[in-house]
């Protein structure tokens, strides 16, 4: 009698999420111009992010990075005043379809930015592509058949591990124990690591030489897994975890027999609020990421100081930087598209774009996958002033295809 309640609960939560999304879609005003804007007439840009639902914690950064770019650029992209049309993808996937349809059909947006969850990409991109509207995506990037109108600002799921693999093969004297959560994102992340690590001559310490996948999201106690790491004689750990899983893993590691085995990970394990909740347990974790707030470049200093001014002196998370770049890419594409401003001319302008100057350094979109070809950095969690921060300690490879 109990097990039947859980799916019922889930269904109800999904239903509530769907209703909220519909309500949000119905409420946002639609006093906007048509798509063919002339001169400096105002334009409408859509931004879809998770304001409610299971990704609520991630959603605001996707909005805030974009909004910060507008704030610091006179609310203009490519010389046109922008009306930002914000929609809620809620729990992602089908819930975002009415939101995207309304943006395209009623609000006549020139482009859609944001999108947190990969199922939302799979639901929204075909609709946008059919209407010729470019999607400038700031969240995860799943496999999509037709990428003609999809432009990803973040990374390919295999990239963080792909950057770290060769480094660990060279710098760890012995085998590495690899961990990840048991879902598609975890498999992709770990495949990126194990492929590049073993190709560079590394050997996994796991049973059977394959990475260990922990039940997701139900693993709360990682202590038994870490006892196995210690017993395996591994000289380092590599893992990909996010959110509450990351916090539980890091806390267990810092208080286990395995605490003298260095922990390497994809950067998300120590981003933003996750790092704060981990506290001192995270000290010394080394990560690979395509961004570090202490990169010394004019573009990064401007971004970090603008973010700090608005948000209590905090360091910007990587997600906010992807979203800042989404606004920056649209800014340049709209300027280049000139007077004939339609979703298709903007899409063509993004396609023709060369090097992009960004807080993370210069990067460009791969002509093939439409994902950044970019440099990855090695970061270490250290005390920076009074708080723990991800401090850049070196460069890893430049990847992207």
């Amino acid at each position: 009698m109990f097990s039947s309640r859980v799916p019922a609960r889930l269904r109800a939560v999904l239903a509530v999420g769907a209703v909220t999304a519909l309500a949000a879609a119905g409420c946002s005003s639609s006093t906007s111009s048509k798509s063919a804007a002339k001169g400096d007439s105002p334009i409408t840009i859509g931004l879809i992010t998770a304001l409610t639902g299971s990704n609520k914690a991630l959603g605001p950064d996707h909005l805030n990075g974009f909004q910060l770019y507008l704030d610091t650029h006179g609310d203009k992209l490519g010389g046109h005043t922008v009306k930002l049309d914000v929609g809620d993808e809620a729990n992602g996937g089908a819930a975002a379809v009415p939101v995207a349809k309304k943006m395209i059909e009623q609000d006549h947006v020139l482009a859609i930015a944001g999108i947190v969850a990969t199922p939302t990409i799979q639901a929204v991109v075909p609709i946008a592509t059919a209407a010729g509207v470019p999607v400038v995506n700031t969240g995860g990037r799943p496999t999509v058949k037709d990428v003609s109108h999809l432009w990803t600002m973040s990374f390919m799921s295999t990239d963080p591990g792909g950057a770290m693999g060769p480094y660990l093969a060279q710098n760890v004297q012995g085998s590495v124990y690899a961990f990840g959560p048991d879902y598609q994102g975890g498999y992709d992340q770990l495949r990126g690591f194990t492929d590049s690590y073993t190709k560079a001559g590394g050997k996994l310490a796991n049973d059977g030489g394959k990475p260990t996948f922990t039940p997701f999201p139900t693993t709360d106690d990682f202590t038994p897994y870490l006892a196995k790491v210690k017993a395996s004689g591994a000289k380092a750990i590599y893992c990909f975890y996010t959110g509450t899983n990351a916090i539980a893993f890091v806390k267990a590691w810092a208080q286990s027999d395995a605490k003298d085995i260095p922990l390497y990970a994809a950067g998300f394990i120590t981003e933003g609020a996750t790092l704060k909740a981990e506290g001192p347990a995270a000290n010394g974790i080394t990560t690979s990421m395509n961004y570090s707030p202490d990169i010394s470049s004019a573009a990064n200093r401007a971004f970090v100081s603008a973010w700090g001014q608005k948000y209590n002196g905090e360091a910007p998370p990587a997600t906010a930087m992807y979203s800042w770049d989404a606004a920056s890419v649209l800014d340049q594409a709209i300027a280049k598209a000139g007077s004939n401003l339609t979703p298709e001319t903007i899409n063509a302008a993004i396609k023709a774009m060369g090097q992009i100057d960004s807080p993370r350094g210069t990067w460009q979109l791969s002509a093939d996958t439409h994902v950044p070809v970019q440099k990855w950095y090695l970061r270490k969690v250290e005390m920076d002033g009074t708080a723990l921060a991800n401090v850049k300690i070196g460069d890893l490879a430049t990847i992207g295809s």
Partner: protein, 299 residues
């Protein structure tokens, strides 16, 4: 050392994890097994306790203890809301109660995430218990060792109150024969309110004590509700001793079991739970007197 040595930490951790599940499930098993109230908002009360304790505690012992008190009081108040809501539904079975408490869980969860945000909340505990200790050459968190002691005391106290005191006897009597308890001069609504309050207090305290292990986050409520359900179903609703042994068993399955075969980790718990339920069904039909009636079984 040998293979056995590898399993020392997982086995010890299984006890700590099991006791956490026991403490987390205690409020639910009390209310469901004895009060007959199916409280879907139980996990939300746990999360409330966790958030309150984490907000009050700043790393000193005095605030840590104050945090436990605030969490318990918060849980009790939550229990009072529950009592007021479920009292009119007392004679209408579990479904209306489940629906109401499900609604309360949704509303409560939304209030919590509005106040505390969608991010996991940091938990600071006194530095003398935030470190590690060495036991037989292994490193283990001090807090979890302390938790084993505190939770054992709680388990003993609970068994004593329910089994050996007048108040406990009254609660068990109310479960068996509500009218008779009324005839003895105790208004049923008072017994109901006391049960809901006690269950809420337990859930809040569990949230406070468990916060350094299952941190307050938006998904904590669902997680705790699910695991508590497993524990009370395995331990038979209302049985404190049953819940205790079920919780320790679940703890060991999730630690030693995972160490023996991590490939089976996703299936171990629910697979064994299914086996236990099937086994019990056959045994139950064999001795027809053993009706595991939800309100009838207790310690």
């Amino acid at each position: 050392m040998g293979t056995l040595d590898t399993y020392f930490v997982p086995a010890l951790d299984g006890v700590a994890w099991g006791l956490l599940l026991f403490v987390a499930a205690a409020g639910l098993t009390l209310l469901f097994g004895i009060g007959g109230v199916l409280n879907i908002a139980h996990g939300t009360l746990f999360a409330l306790g966790g958030y309150l304790a984490a907000t009050v505690s700043d790393g000193s012992w005095s605030t840590a203890i104050l945090g436990m008190v605030v969490a318990t009081v918060g849980g009790t108040l939550g229990g009072a809301v529950l009592a007021a809501g479920t009292l009119p539904l007392a004679e209408r079975g579990h479904l209306p109660q489940a629906l109401l408490t499900f609604g309360l869980a949704l509303v409560g969860g939304d209030i919590l995430s509005t106040i505390y945000g969608g991010d996991p909340h940091p938990v600071v505990i006194p530095s003398s218990v935030s470190g590690t200790m060495h036991i037989f050459g292994h490193v283990y968190p001090t807090y979890r060792l302390m938790f084993i002691v505190v939770a054992s005391v709680l388990a003993l106290a609970g068994t004593y109150v329910l089994g050996r005191t007048r108040a406990g006897a009254l609660l068990r009597a109310a479960a068996d024969d509500r009218d008779m308890v009324g005839a003895m001069g105790y208004a049923p609504w008072r017994v109901h309110a006391a049960l809901c309050g006690a269950a809420g207090a337990l859930a809040g305290l569990a949230g406070g004590l468990g916060a350094p292990i299952i941190g307050p986050a938006p998904d904590a409520a669902d997680k705790v509700l699910m695991l508590s359900m497993v524990v009370i179903v395995l331990g038979r609703p209302g049985s404190v001793a049953g819940a205790f042994f079920a919780a320790i068993a679940v703890g060991e399955i999730e630690t030693v079991g995972v160490t023996i075969s991590s490939n089976w980790a996703p299936y171990l718990l629910f697979g064994l739970m299914a086996l236990a339920l099937v086994g019990r069904t056959f045994r139950g039909s064999a001795d027809s007197a053993g009706a595991a009636g939800v309100a009838g079984a207790h310690a």
